[in-house]
Amino acid sequence: MTSEPGDNELVRECLGGDEHAFEILLLRYQGPVYNAVLRMVRNRDEASDLTQTAFLKAYEQLASFDSKHKFFSWLYRIAVNEAINHVKRQRRLEPLAGEWASGAPSPEDALVGADLSLHVQDALMSLPYDYRAVLVLRHFEGCSYEEMAAIVGVAEKTVKSRLFSARRQLKELLEARGILR
């Protein structure tokens, strides 16, 4: 029986020139990273592009990765920052604040899938991006407070505070939609 190589081992092999090692990391994390980004930006094409950019940045900056930390936290940090920067850019282009909170589903909404996912996604999009990030990392990626703090780049106390506020806001939004009672 052979065990799967650890992330840090794969990083070392990749830095040694083994391209396949990076491919293993990519296949291991493309799903979680893509989903985290998708929940941040909603649009599938944008999520795919941002995920691709995040992995390429990770590849290019691999030598700067500190193996004392978790690889996926480092990777998520790159991806979440990409998503947040994208959201900020998008927000600058929006004609009206809070447009995403509109009750009318857009054509893109119709592609998201089940009603529940659609409502949750729509509600997520109306939250501030820093609240959205901690909710996504906690509830869709299963990150701990410590991991979230490392990914988002704030203290654990701040993570808890944001998570608390984010849950309250999301709860109210979903209650308003009749998803929660």
């Binding site: 020139g17 391209e19 990076f22 491919e23 990519l26 296949l27 493309q30 799903g31 979680p32 893509y34 989903n35 998708l38 599938r44 795919s48 995920t51 691709q52 992995f55 390429l56 590849y59 290019e60 899938g113 089940a114 529940l116 996912s117 949750v120 909710l135 906690r138 509830h139 869709f140 701990s144 407070y145 808890k160 998570l163 608390f164 849950r167 999301l170 709860k171 979903l174 209650e175 998803i179 929660l180 009672r181």
Partner: protein
């Protein structure tokens, strides 16, 4: 009446699965004795349950191949052996250092393969070499290639060294210059083609003949 922050923290800890046994007991007591706490906990628990029902989506099938394609393209430009190492040498250096190299005459590649393929006898007696700086003075007897046709003020030279063959580059410009050297032992008994890169486009500057027959 609002919920005490300490109780809110307990609810959060319980929802996130990090509450200790003692905290769970305190929260259970608070829930039992306070309808508002009970309602808050029920609603937040409901939120967590709803979020847990959201299914992850499979990433697009094209994602991983696209990333690997881009990775391979980057490897081709950053880890691609002789060609890439020459390209990587110039742009990354500090300008002053690059200038010093350029004025004095620059790059020592020590291509052992050239030596093995072409043989030292093609170049006459080996030039004594203590360190890299000893090889950067241009040799008048060495084949010399004017890089002007490629828009660069300078010359490339090839001559023997103690470790094989030295390719020198004398540049009269302080501007960054990217060069590609391509060695093909099958061409003319051993030939080094010199190309200058401008905005990713390679412009041939000419060739250095290892046999000295330029």
């Amino acid at each position: 009446m609002s919920i005490h922050p300490e109780i809110s923290d307990l609810i959060q800890a319980e929802l996130d699965g990090v509450a200790t046994d003692a905290e769970r007991i305190r929260l259970r007591d608070a829930i039992a004795g306070n309808a508002e706490v009970r309602d808050e906990y029920r609603r937040l628990r409901g939120l967590c349950d709803v979020l847990a029902q959201v299914e992850p989506e499979a990433p697009p099938a094209r994602l991983a191949p696209a990333v690997m394609h881009a990775v391979r393209a980057r490897r081709g430009t950053t880890h691609g052996g002789l060609v890439a190492s020459v390209r990587a040498f110039w742009p990354g250096r500090h300008l002053a250092l690059r200038y010093a190299y350029a004025v004095a005459a620059g790059v020592v590649l020590g291509v052992l393969g050239l030596h093995l393929a072409a043989g030292g006898s093609l170049f006459g007696p080996a030039v004594p070499e203590r360190d890299a700086s000893a090889t950067i003075a241009p040799s008048h007897s060495a084949p010399r290639l004017d890089l002007a046709p490629a828009g660069v003020h300078g010359f490339a030279t090839v001559r023997p060294s103690a470790t094989g063959t030295t390719i020198g580059v004398d540049l009269g410009s302080a501007e960054p210059v990217e060069l590609v050297l391509r060695y093909d032992p099958a061409k003319g008994g051993g030939r080094v083609d010199v190309l200058v890169l401008h905005d990713g486009e390679a412009t041939p500057a000419g060739s250095l003949q290892l046999s000295g027959k330029q």
